[in-house]
Amino acid sequence: MYRRLLTGLQSATLRLDVGIQRVLPQDFNPLYYTGGLANLFLTVLVVSGILIFLYYEPSLEGAYASVEFLTRDVPYGVVFRGIHRYAADAYMVAILLHLFRNWFTDRYREARDSQWLSGMVLLVFSGLAGFTGYLLVWDERSQMLTSLTVQALRSVPLVGHWLAEVFVGGPGVSDTTLPRFLFLHVGPAMALYVLLWWHYVRLRHPKIWPPAVWVLFGLGLLFILASVLPATSGRPAQPGASPEGFPVDWFYLWPYVLARWMAPGWALALVVALLAYGMVIPYTLRETPEERGLRALGQAVVVDENCTGCELCYYDCPYNAIYMVPSPAPGKSRAAANRKLLAVVVDSRCVECGICIGACPFEALELPRMLDRDVQQRIQRGAQAPAAAAT
């Protein structure tokens, strides 16, 4: 049932591409660059964030006023603030598209689980950086979010009160609170770059930037949104006030909407459960390749006697699964007699795609169940066979 659903979703995802390609050239399809788009918006966030940071004052009295000063009196401050806000939303849209597309098109299985796991951790940190951004303004919404978060953290068993105190920096909101929020906003954002290293480390030539057309469109969209719907603050936070509601950013604040129907602690538990499920997705379907309808051709094998150490496979392997090591002994073939290096396939990273076989001009790599010899025979049969009776 679950598998049928996934197959259907895969089909639908690729059907969507067919529609997009009626309008746009193949390699302009935005859905092929969701990761690059996320990176574009993250860059915009960092740049605009630094500009905002220069004006921000993390104190109970000064925070709201400093944001207002930025919005009113700094040249184009309102635009930068808007761009920062909408880039955050666009970033979340891009990474969610990235997540679902790679999920539905099977690009997370087996050797690629490292990218999936780092992606989930990136999602956690992005969400954290996103929602703490709404705390920094220190208007009524910030106040409400803070009190809901404290309630949710307090209901965590055993360590709840301690967590809540760590969060606001003391038994209650004080002047230590906003510097802490500022760190919780900027710290995870910095951590994203460390996590991105983990995200990219197994990829050769990661596509980290979308084509020019989407850079232009993305930036243009941010400018338009920031001008048509300028980002604003609510009323300033008042100690002891209990505001009724707040405008919701659905991409970051949806767990707080849940708090309307359930205890904040349960909303927190739900978010944690969702993310935990996300982490185990690559391990939920442990089927054999046959059950998935795939031909298991086996992981690439280096033919020791033919390898010349030329590194071509090493450069083409999309997952960095091939390492060049100092050759322990010369190869047998004439070309391989003087080699200095030998290719080695790291089994845990190989996805059995065979791109290294296409790269190798020396017949030094094979997929065990689709040998070069057999392919050659089939080619010759196909090229020479007498014309079969027309159907």
Partner: protein, 141 residues
């Protein structure tokens, strides 16, 4: 369609193609002997990724008597293995230049990029390719 290409010139052009498992859905596209439905002179070898194809194999197909050979990968940018089709397109470009020096018409090699749902477009492209080959004349052997 098949009968048309064969009767038009008397000698049918033989084509060997490579089809990525993840590109065009191959169910209902292939006869039991791996030829294309409706085009029995086109043999298709399914490969795990278009990047698996060695340029030497394309050369071998031409030398063994095929009039032309093609590789079909996923839409550019959508390779399951991230860049197999870009790599293959590059390799084919280089192979074309090499073959041109050996007086083999580079048009005998084609690269297609079609997704899961593009069966008809794929068949049309192969048909157009076969027609072009017919204009070039049969294979070497």
């Amino acid at each position: 369609m098949a009968t048309k290409t064969e009767t038009a010139q008397g000698t049918p052009v033989r084509v060997v193609g490579f089809l990525c498992d993840w590109a065009v859905r191959s169910e209902g596209l292939l006869n039991p002997d791996d030829t294309l439905v409706g085009m029995p002179h086109v043999t298709v070898i399914r490969v795990p990724c278009s990047g698996f194809v060695k340029p030497g194999w394309l050369e071998l197909a031409l030398r063994s008597g095929a009039a032309g050979t093609f590789v079909c990968g996923c839409p550019m940018g959508d390779c399951l293995n991230r860049e197999g089709n870009w790599i293959m397109e590059d390799r084919i470009d280089q192979l074309r230049k090499r073959l041109a020096r050996q007086k083999v018409d580079p048009d005998r090699i084609a690269f297609f990029a079609y997704g899961l749902h593009d069966q008809q477009a794929f068949l049309d492209a192969v048909q157009a390719f076969v027609d072009r080959l017919r204009a070039l004349g049969g294979g070497k052997a």
